[in-house]
Symmetry: C2
């Protein structure tokens, strides 16, 4: 596939990043790799995450991509610099810095609440990235593991989603920081519900902010055509569960997924 951009994640959550990228770069081709056989990365040791991320990136490079987007919070937080140095001068983008940067731009004195998986919250990559940019920021974080499970069921609205989201926002919904940073690639599916529940909050979606950064850099560096109407093609690769990838992946991507190639890493 010509001049494609490679995107990888441990699973299907990164498809929300691909969705945002396709909205910004509709004429661009993409190769998406979901390492579904070895998810989740969040419970693996840092050395293992680096090894897996390098294998995924290498596979994309072998397919001829001209840039890589690490659409996985764990891999972005742990392996991004190693990937950038290993694959230089190929541009390699993560999701943590764009999300943190966008949160810093919109937050007020009430601070920011990072919503992410248990491992992302525990690892603290978003918290560090925000502190680095605004040392005075009040930073709160909450692990929302149930959100992933609900999203994986293709549920983004209704009683069940409302109860789960209310449960994990308890203590924060009516007081506390007025900026929420969605620090997990699964969470953009809840953006609409969150905006309705919290109309006076800023909701920063790291998928969207990553796509914005990638598009602006690539438009400048590589003369990627960002405004054409012609839709680019997407090639999907997964390391396991191809049937489930097609079925659930479409929910995250917002388009149906017809063909997924099973690969081994």
């Amino acid at each position: 596939m010509q001049d494609a951009i490679g995107v990888f994640d441990s699973g299907m959550g990164g498809l929300t990043v691909l969705r945002a990228l396709r909205l910004r770069l509709p004429a661009t081709n993409f190769v998406y790799l979901g390492d579904t056989a070895r998810l989740p990365y969040g419970t693996k040791s840092p050395a293992t995450v680096v090894k897996y991320a390098e294998q995924a990136a290498k596979t994309l490079v072998d397919r001829g991509v001209r840039a890589i987007v690490v659409a996985c919070n764990t891999a972005s937080g742990i392996a991004l610099e190693k990937l950038q140095s290993h694959f230089a001068p190929l541009p390699v983008f993560g999701v943590v810095a764009p999300g943190a940067q966008a949160a810093c731009e919109v937050m007020d004195g009430s601070g920011v609440l990072v919503l992410a998986t248990e491992s992302t919250v525990g690892w603290g990559a978003y918290q560090r990235a925000i502190s680095k940019r605004r040392s005075d920021a009040k930073i709160f974080a909450r692990a929302c593991p149930l959100w992933v499970a609900v999203a994986e069921q293709g549920i983004a609205a209704g009683d069940l989603a409302e109860v789960v989201i209310g449960h994990d926002l308890r203590g924060f919904e009516f007081t506390g920081p007025r900026t929420l940073l969605l620090g997990c690639t699964h969470f953009p599916v809840f953006s609409e519900m969150l905006r309705r529940r919290l109309p006076n909050h800023q909701i920063v979606d790291s998928a969207e902010t990553t796509a914005r950064v990638v598009a602006s850099v690539l438009e400048a560096q590589l003369q990627v055509e960002g405004t054409a109407n012609l839709r680019g093609q997407v090639k999907f690769l997964a390391t396991d569960g191809v049937a489930r990838f097609k079925r659930v992946g479409g929910f995250f991507l917002g388009e149906s997924i017809d063909e997924v190639e099973l690969i081994d890493l």
Copy 2:
């Protein structure tokens, strides 16, 4: 540890089986192995599950156990016969046959509803085990992946658990089979809630039924002392996430877990 029984699972869910075993065999020592680095097994290929199960069983055998309980539905469904033949004459027990047998004993003409993970339901081990025993049984099955996520948060009661359980029982709570088979090692934590919601249903808990079978066989074959008051010891092994194992594992086991040895398989 002398004369211990080995128990393994892909993670912590199997601790509900260990809990049931300890209630029946309080004087017996146990070694519990959670392959937390490689969970879930349910999304892996059968060949991979067999390999992982053999590695786990080998580790327990190397620790001198005199019987093995496969406290994992995926591994029981896929690898049990291979383990039994590989490690004969060591007794190797699974969780599927005892659960299916118990369900067949209590079910009436309305049939049985198997509640399990997506992969267990899809793989069909419980459905086949029930059909083999009662070819006329009406068998229904529903995947309840959110129950695992809720249990992993240490939540077994309250609004959130009620909504999640009600969501996955929709269409079954007031009509349909009056026997429920809990075909996932995480689900016994919801037994109390299910018995309250469905007071006229039979709730078959495969952890409890497995423990009953193991205790009766071992008492007969190995003169295991099942009635002593002295509590046996438990050694915990895990392949990753030792801190989380201690914190969440106690919820499944019903006892606090003070020490977990990190091992590599």
